[in-house]
Symmetry: C2
Subunit: 405 residues, 2 copies
């Protein structure tokens, strides 16, 4: 991100939300030096960065005072849990195509653009602005605006950027991770091929959070899944786990190079055309997976973990009428009406309540309220470094507590 | 093609059309040895093969008697001209996904499956069977059934496998080449992106028969085209020729690797997203061409002259919402109603009559009526060998004359 570009954007967003500028002035009695990364103040804390780069280097914890009362049509929320998704890392690195806007409240405090990490998260309403209808104190909300800056203890948000989540029978972890991976899985199964009960799909990266959601949603809809995973230590246990989630077959990528696999797949499907493939890997194994697809199939990509391109014989397009698409949940949210978003959330929470869609395997990293910003910064940088090495296994959910002195 | 497979298919098709078997019995007074490749008989001739392989080796000329009168709901036609398209070569080689059926009439004569080459061609009705409505003697017809075996002087065809072409202001060459390349160009421009006047498209292989049709149809519709061609001797003349056809810009592939091209394209389009790309090449230059496409674009492939796969960064799919498709005119004909086929033919002939869609650059290879089958075979094998070396430049149209002794 060039500094000119980010300054322009910062300026633009500093000039836009007048309510927030007003809100900020309420705090003008506070001296600028009350904001610091080396000590904490009673109030809040966020995980921030002011320049793109390696998260293990550029992230720091930053404490800030209580939020002012919410301006009209906004609410103040406390974040209960916020995941660290792979895309969040790319955003901080500056290699993601969607750039966040600087946080208005914090940027004014520091007098230069400051970005809060995190795209997804579960918030609890703590204060309601004038004119707000449909939300009240203690309600749960999730973000539908991308790059909302969820790695924070609290935030003021516009009513139009959040959706209320029914709490009933939903865990905090499920609600905190409901806006990216489960809808990606649901929409990819829904928006491309017109599948009916008994139809078959293939997917790779089947052990990813999206992959596991695909397995469960497909099973709930009566679709059969052929799931590819990397061979690894304990692969049999993993296969068993995915089958318990509802996977019909789980296959290691190595088997894709075996000629016998095609015959095996044909036996499984009874020769029925596989009409949907889901890809988050690309590279050679995806070329081989695409060859398993039948006529008039759709191959939908939502990731490229191999960092290789998607390379396909042109004949698959011409003679088998293969169509290739990409899926990005952020675009889906931008394109769809509020009603469609609410409908999707309702569908997913219903699946969760019925026990048909489990949350991810996760662990919580708590940034405690009494820790110093220095200690909290070290903690988050250490985590970022470990995540950067890959193979973390579990989804990490951040819990940034309110600060106490 | 395995012999078991082709024999089964031959058997199936020999058993199906009872009228033709009946028709054949009318000829039963002829001795089997009147069919020969070393002498000719008064009547007809076809370019045939009985096994897949190199056309320069497996093709031969084969003379056969006059057709019996057409059975009900069929017509006898004389072929006036029939092109040799690249796909015809692949069919003979056995590497094309659509296999022809053996010619019933000729296979019975030889007592083993015999295939007549050619998919496309212009026929003139010479005899009309009982119950035929809408076609009369001297009408022009084109084939909509794939692999009709058009490299022949005459053929009996079902009414449902041909479409009448209005002769008015149409050359024989235009009509003989109207069912494959011009509709491929027209449908690719029409079926994927919703383009309006002033929109931009990119294509490679712009000098191919389809490419030239794309340029002309796009110009007629008011779409702007950026056309990629191979650098070659006389490339400036070729650029000039394509511009005269209506190309907005013509660019050599070499320029695709230049960073300045993106800026140049942006100047040309005024920053407008290019929403359609047409590909008959694949490989690296197509990857680069795809990067010129804007958001929500469609890349439609109808060939792969580089024999390389189509390889694209996954990010184009995810973040720019690129969709990739294939186009195959044979599938279009199978999928669409008779009305849709007639409508398309009407649209294309109208463009031709208005001078907006020229026929291809062509030369005619005549197999004369007095030549021996041996001489005719040598002629067609020699041509196949020359076509196999590529870079022929002009479309070759076959004219197989009726034989005279």
């Amino acid at each position: 991100m060039s500094s000119v570009h980010s300054c322009t954007k910062a300026l633009a967003s500093l000039q836009r939300p007048r309510q927030l500028q007003h809100a900020w002035r309420l705090q003008s009695n506070m001296a600028n030096n009350t904001f610091s990364t080396s000590s904490i103040m009673a109030g809040n804390r966020a995980i921030v960065y002011n320049t793109n780069g390696d998260p293990a280097r550029v992230l720091s914890a930053f404490s800030f005072p209580e939020l002012p009362p919410p301006p009209p049509d906004t609410v103040n929320i406390r974040f209960l849990l916020a995941p660290i998704n792979p895309a969040d890392i790319n955003v901080i690195e500056g290699v993601y195509p969607m750039k966040p806007e600087p946080d208005v409240f914090l940027s004014q405090a520091k007098d230069h653009p400051l970005f809060v990490g995190g795209n997804e998260g579960l918030g609890k309403v703590i204060d309601v602005g004038e004119g707000v209808v449909g939300l009240q104190k203690d309600d749960w909300v999730v973000m539908t605006k991308a790059q909302s800056g969820t790695w924070s203890s609290a935030k003021n948000v516009a009513l139009s950027d959040v959706l209320k989540v029914p709490k009933q029978d939903l865990s905090e972890a499920q609600a905190a991770t409901i806006t990216v991976n489960p809808p990606t899985a649901y929409n990819m199964l829904h928006d491309f091929a017109q599948l009916v009960k008994g139809d078959w799909i293939v997917q790779n990266g089947a052990n990813s959070a999206v992959g596991q959601a695909v397995i469960q949603i497909a099973a709930a809809k009566g679709y059969k899944t052929i799931n590819f995973i990397r061979d690894r230590y304990g692969v049999e246990l993993l296969k068993q786990h995915l089958k318990l989630l509802g996977a019909t077959h789980v296959v290691a990528y190595d088997e894709l190079t075996e000629k016998s696999l095609r015959a095996k797949v044909k036996t499984w499907t009874g020769g029925k055309d596989i009409r949907l493939g889901l890809n988050c890997v690309s590279g050679n194994t995806t070329t081989l997976m695409a060859r398993l697809l039948g006529n008039n199939a759709h191959l939908v990509s939502y990731g490229a973990m191999s960092k290789e391109p998607l390379s396909l014989p042109t004949s698959l397009f011409i003679f088998k009428n293969l169509a290739c698409h990409g899926f990005w949940q952020s675009r889906w949210y931008s394109d769809k009406s509020l009603e469609k978003r609410q409908e999707l959330l309702k569908t997913l929470t219903a699946l969760m309540r019925e026990g048909k869609l489990q949350g991810p395997d996760y662990e919580v990293l708590t940034i405690g309220g009494t820790e110093s910003d220095d200690s909290a910064s070290a903690k988050i940088r250490d985590l970022a470094a470990r995540l950067g090495q890959g193979m973390y296994g579990k989804k990490v959910l951040l819990k940034v507590e309110e600060t106490v002195t």
